[in-house]
């Protein structure tokens, strides 16, 4: 019997593995790096409703584009912004106008939560002192306290997170879903460990990844991955570590486009709704994309 290859076209991956009403969708990437934008744009094209969007500790255009598309009911996040470029316009607008429910947390809530979700742990207790900020006062149901059985003291806890689907960018994968992060893995590997279903987008499919890098470098095992999509430049306008830089000009243009409903609609149609993902690179321009290449950072 032959081993199953997991490489499928992008549209099929989203159609098959993201439910039309997705209970919880985790999106990888941190700041303007390694955002799985090809998968995210396809989620928007296929009009998938997202009950709960879960981000890494620092989301960027990955969350902001989804929020702008109006498909998200609630968002669990510790940060949505554009780092040195400014605040996230759709996030800010949706929260201030209450068109999205914000479940605001800190970085460890997500990191501990993925760890607990991955390992079947009932919760993870916080170190003492992390209850001194005001986050747990927003909603007492959200950050819950329990008694430390060793000291008898009250401790704050983080609940397990088990996203229904995680959309993650890796730089390279083999046909069976084994994959690598060429640079930082951020919290993307934890999302992979915690999610029920994982869809990967990669810059390149490599026939035998372990032979190319050695198995010790391949730390995403294929048995955790449901589908792999080859999507060169699929992180644009964010960076893909080891392949290309973020496109600061495009990110600035995006922020500008978000300023009025007309320009936002135009952006959404031009780069997402009116083209299949296969035409995205040509829409941005091959020359522009090639000028962002940054291979050799780690070599």
């Amino acid at each position: 019997m032959e081993r199953t290859r997991k490489v499928i076209p992008l549209s099929e991956a989203i159609r098959r593995f993201v439910p039309d009403d997705c209970p919880s969708l985790a999106v990888g990437g941190m700041h303007m790096h390694n955002n799985p934008m090809a998968l995210i744009r396809e989620v928007i094209r296929q009009n998938k409703k997202i009950k709960r969007l879960i981000t890494s500790p620092s989301a960027d255009i990955n969350a902001d584009l989804l929020l702008g598309s109006g498909l998200v009911e609630e968002i669990l996040t510790a940060y949505v912004g554009f780092e040195h470029l400014g605040l996230a316009p759709n996030f800010r607008r949706a929260v201030e106008k209450k068109t999205v429910k914000l479940l605001e947390c800190d970085e460890p809530f997500l990191v501990y939560g993925f760890q607990a979700g991955a390992g079947g742990l009932p919760f993870i207790p916080y170190p003492k002192g992390l209850e001194l900020n005001d986050l747990h006062k927003i909603d007492p149901e959200f950050y819950r306290f329990t008694t430390d059985p060793y000291t008898g003291e009250q401790v704050m806890t983080a609940a397990p997170l088990k996203p229904s689907v995680a959309l993650i960018h890796c730089q390279e994968a083999d046909p069976y879903g084994n994959a690598i992060f060429k640079g930082s893995e951020f919290t993307d590997r934890q999302m992979i460990l915690a999610a029920e279903t994982v869809v990967l987008q990669v810059e390149k499919i490599v026939p035998d990844l372990a032979a190319k890098y050695g198995a010790t470098r391949v730390n995403v095992p294929g048995f955790l991955v449901s589908a792999v999509v080859e999507a060169p430049y699929g992180c644009h306008p964010t960076s893909s570590h080891g392949y290309y830089r973020d496109d600061e000009g495009h990110l600035r243009a995006y922020l500008q486009a978000c300023k009025s409903p007309e320009s936002w609609t135009e952006y959404l149609h031009r780069y997402v709704l009116d083209i299949p993902e296969e035409e995205y690179a040509a829409t941005i321009g091959r020359g522009r994309l090639n000028s962002l290449r940054s291979e050799g950072v780690f070599e």
Partner: protein
């Protein structure tokens, strides 16, 4: 297009919330007469504060702390270690400096920790000596706010979120900074405490028994603050060259402790500037403030 086009929502830092423009309108004119920028002076102040053998950690948009760590390593603290934000990079050798804490360029470094390991160690309590932070708001007890201005349920301004700032009470000394020294940043009390300093003062802080030492230093384009030992209130430590005590008071939304004699912040030495400009040949620091 320039950063000016985003006057409503300027660049800010994850850990600091800093708008990129100075809150000091006359700052630009003065900068032309000086041999260094305000950001370079801030970098030098932070670098001199770091001790050999310490471990420092920082979040997003941390060009100034990163440059400070590099400068300290090349002068008095060759055994300093620092971790560059979400990249997990330990001791990046950044030349030139880059804007994003998570850019791949940070990974030209000594080592890389997966981010969950960095978060784990931030909870340890004794692994890190210095944590760089800040906020949209910073109050007189050094509490920081990156969550919202106004009431959380009806915010006047929704901030980006707090990320790792809640670790401040466990992460050694907090070195806070802002590139916008004005009365909107420095407030009597933060609207939302997302990065605890000395909480509501000594009574609330001293009972906690936490491993962190609390806020130690606040660096701005106008001055340096530390904290009064007994009251835990922010205290004017030094005035940058050409800045008056009145200017600091006018731009600070609370009454800082004001010693009778306040020295002038020592200027960067020529050798410090030579090192900084080698690290920052593109002049990133010069453009910040």
């Amino acid at each position: 297009m320039s950063a000016k086009d985003y006057s409503g929502d300027k660049g800010h830092s994850q850990e600091t919330g800093n708008p990129r423009e100075s809150g000091r309108p006359e700052g630009k004119d003065d900068a032309g007469e000086k041999a260094y920028s305000a950001a370079e002076l801030m970098t030098v102040v932070m670098a001199r504060h770091l001790r050999d053998g310490e471990v420092a950690v920082m979040g997003a948009v941390s060009m100034i702390p990163m440059a400070a760590c590099r400068l300290a390593q090349e002068t008095h603290a060759p055994n300093l270690s620092y971790i560059a934000g979400g990249s997990g990079a330990v001791n990046p050798r950044l030349e030139p400096l880059v804007f994003s804490s998570c850019a791949a360029e940070n990974l030209r470094a000594d080592a890389m920790l997966p981010l969950p390991d960095v978060i784990l160690l931030e909870g340890h309590g004794k692994r890190f000596d210095v944590f760089f932070g800040g906020g949209l708001q910073i109050d007189k007890y050094g509490n920081c706010n990156l969550v919202c201005v106004g009431d959380w349920h009806n915010p006047l301004l929704k901030g980006p979120g707090t990320v790792g700032l809640p670790f401040l009470p466990r992460a050694g000394r907090a070195v806070l900074y802002t590139t916008a020294h004005n009365a909107r940043t420095f407030v009597e009390k933060v609207d939302f405490n997302s990065g605890p300093g000395f909480l509501d003062g000594p009574e609330t802080w001293l009972g906690q028994g936490l491993p962190g030492e609390g806020p130690a230093l606040v660096v701005t384009p106008l001055c340096v603050f530390d904290f009064e030992e007994r009251s835990k209130v922010m205290r004017l430590k030094s005035l940058h060259p050409g800045v008056s005590r009145e200017e600091v008071v006018r731009n600070t939304g609370f009454r800082p402790a004001l010693p009778p004699e306040v020295p002038v912040t020592p200027e960067p030495t020529l050798s410090e500037l030579v090192i900084l400009r080698r690290l920052d040949a593109a002049g990133v620091l010069g453009k910040l403030v």
